[in-house]
């Protein structure tokens, strides 16, 4: 164990005028007052959310909206059977619903994450 040196003595002559002052305004005020900074945060939040929404809608458009097109372009798919059950019936009467639920849950989790990140970023200051 080494012997502790006392900190060197400092002569105080004046306050540090040239140091950056800490901004005590909360960022929520920027949002409230629609300053440029607030707008940047807002458009970041909105575009993140919108991207997520469009991703989910795109998945639905391809997965569900693609079905009639598939039936039209590949007629063999119209009469495919799985066991005794025709595949188109199985997909439209049963499979669609759990998939919709999973997609909805995925969306909620992701959009809450985006909002949490936004709250943290805004609340930190």
């Amino acid at each position: 164990m080494t012997e502790q040196q006392p900190p060197p003595r400092v002569r105080v002559t004046s306050t540090r005028r040239n140091a950056a002052t800490r901004d005590l305004r909360p960022l929520t005020r920027d949002l409230d007052e629609q300053s440029n900074l607030g707008e940047v945060y807002m458009s970041g939040l909105m575009s993140a959310q919108l991207r997520l929404s469009l991703l989910v809608l795109g998945f639905g458009a391809v997965g569900l909206g693609g079905l009639p097109l598939l039936f039209l372009l590949v007629p063999a798919t119209r009469s495919l059977e799985l066991g005794r059950v025709p595949l188109p019936w199985l997909v439209l009467a049963v499979v669609v619903y759990p998939v919709a639920l999973v997609v909805a849950r995925y969306y909620v989790r992701q959009s809450e994450r985006i909002e949490k990140e936004f709250s943290d970023a805004v609340g930190r200051r």
Binding site: F71, R84, P86
Partner: protein, 508 residues
């Protein structure tokens, strides 16, 4: 069919509805209770209430009838009804709740800062609500006639009286509880008989329906509306249902009973689960109908299939009992959807049409709640009268027309309103007017002139695929042409619509 069982089931449902409503009356004291149940409804109960309200005559009787008659293509109906909630969830759920508005009209006013757009939206809410109420009341008449042989006007009247008594008495507080209960009533009433019928069917060696040899019925892209152009019709229907859900008056009102935007989203996820569970059953009735009832008695509407099927599968007591259970469930469907529509239409009538006039006539003696009661009566008497005048065109068809109008008007308003800062007052109004006029004309021609053939029939019978893009384009182009009419507080409104509530922001 055993009349006594059927009447008992329907009476029990109506009585339970009134009793729960009366219980809610004791809790319902303020205007906020009336309109939004004071925003204190929990997510689980709210989701059950949304499910209860949404599963209408079209879901309970109509889908089975469509699958029975037209086969596979009709499965797009329940799929669209469910997917509509996912679309609503990802596009508008949280912003709508955070807007703090109660109806689309309130949202329009808050977002666009214009009473003219508000009034336009109000008229559309009432119009769509009435269009959606028609098949409910017709369905009630049909169900009561099938079960008891009563004339067609009685069923609708019973529903109208019970609903007005409930809505006028307890408002949203009591209706929320009634509807939450009715979801589970409906699920039980359709699931239990379905399992019994399936068991009987496997006992018979699970015969395939004779019609399964017909590709028309069994394979996709054949049956939709029977008007030809099945690919167009399928897409148009899917669009109408997926985008129309968010514009239905009774769906929107339910949003505002959530405590915050996050709860609104979570509620919708539960709704998707509840709807999916319910929609597994109606197609079963359609298929089993083709096994056991390949042809209906002459003069019987296909919409009565669900009620007739049990007696055909299990002749005698058990079949009659199941029919009674299904009749009760169908009545729960009419009552809950009609209540939800009546309460939202009444809200708009009271706020936008009645309040000023009533105050003038009575010298401010009438309270808001009294006005609401008068409005509730108005909200249901008009569609009831119309339902007696026009010929039924099929429950699910009628409902899909209401969806098409909602999708062509409120979908552009809500989506652009929530996400596009450059939406102008004029642009929004133009979108509503153009979309509303086109969709309403298509509906009017289809209902009054009957089904047409060829492309005109397809385009008018399923208008959504062209009316929605036209409405969106109109709103966008007119907004870009009138940048001076972008509401001055748009940025402020966007902060309110999109920021999570845990931030301490000024939300007015």
């Amino acid at each position: 069919m055993n009349t006594a069982y059927g009447i008992t089931a329907i009476t029990v449902i109506c009585t339970v509805t009134l009793v729960i409503g009366a219980f809610g009356l004791r809790l319902s004291r303020t205007t906020s209770d009336f309109y939004v149940a004071s925003r204190t409804v929990s997510a689980g109960r709210n989701a059950s209430a949304i499910g209860g309200e949404y599963l209408s005559a079209a879901s309970f009787l109509g889908i089975a009838a469509l699958v029975y008659t037209n086969g596979l293509d009709m499965l797009w109906f329940p799929v669209g009804y469910t997917v509509g909630y996912v679309v609503l969830l990802v596009l508008v759920a949280a912003p709508l709740r955070r807007s703090g508005a109660y109806t689309v009209a309130d949202f329009a006013e808050a977002r666009l800062e214009s009473t003219a757009v508000r009034r336009l939206a109000s008229v559309l809410v009432v119009g769509i609500g009435w269009l959606y109420l028609l098949p409910q009341l017709q369905g009630a008449g049909l169900a009561l006639r099938t079960v008891t042989g009563a004339p067609g006007w009685v069923g609708g009247l019973v529903v109208a009286v019970v609903v007005v008594a409930n809505v006028a008495a307890g408002g949203m507080r009591s209706i929320t509880l009634v509807q939450a209960v009715q979801y589970w009533v409906k699920l039980t009433a359709i699931a239990v008989p379905a399992f019994v019928l399936l068991w009987a069917w496997t006992g018979d060696g699970s015969p395939a329906p004779e019609i399964a040899s017909s590709t028309q019925w069994k394979e996709p892209l054949n049956g939709l509306a029977g008007q030809g152009h099945p690919v167009y019709a399928t897409y148009s229907l899917l669009l109408a249902l997926a985008l129309g859900t968010m514009g239905l008056p009774h769906v929107l009102v339910r949003f505002y009973t959530n405590p915050d935007g996050r709860a609104a989203r979570r509620t919708i996820v539960t709704v998707v689960a509840l709807l999916g569970a319910f929609y597994l059953f109606p197609p079963l009735y359609g298929v089993l109908g083709q096994v056991y009832l390949p042809s209906l008695p002459t003069g019987a509407a296909a919409d009565s299939l669900v009620l007739r099927l049990p007696a055909a599968v299990l002749p005698g007591g058990p079949g009659e009992l199941l029919s009674a259970v299904l009749a009760g469930g169908a009545f729960a469907a009419f009552l809950s959807t009609t209540s939800g529509l009546t309460i939202s239409v009444a809200g708009v009538i009271e706020q936008d049409l009645l309040r000023g006039r009533l105050a003038r006539v009575t010298g401010d003696d009438a309270t808001v709640v009294q006005g609401f009661r008068i409005a509730a009566l108005l909200a249901i008497v008009v569609p009831y009268a119309v339902s007696r005048l026009i010929e039924p065109v099929g429950l699910a068809t009628m409902v899909s027309l209401a969806f098409a109008v909602a999708a062509s008007t409120f979908c552009p308003l809500l989506v652009l309103g929530a996400w596009w800062r450059r939406l102008s007052t004029v642009g929004a109004a133009a979108g509503l007017l153009v979309g509303g006029t086109l969709a309403a004309s298509a509906v009017g021609i289809t209902v009054l002139a009957g089904p047409l053939h060829g492309w005109p029939g397809a385009l008018l019978g399923q208008p959504a695929a062209w009316t929605i893009p036209i409405a969106f384009t109109t709103a966008i182009l007119v907004s870009l042409a009138t940048p001076g009419r972008v509401p001055p507080h748009t940025a402020r409104t966007m902060v309110r619509l999109h920021t999570p509530e845990d931030l301490a922001l000024d939300r007015e």
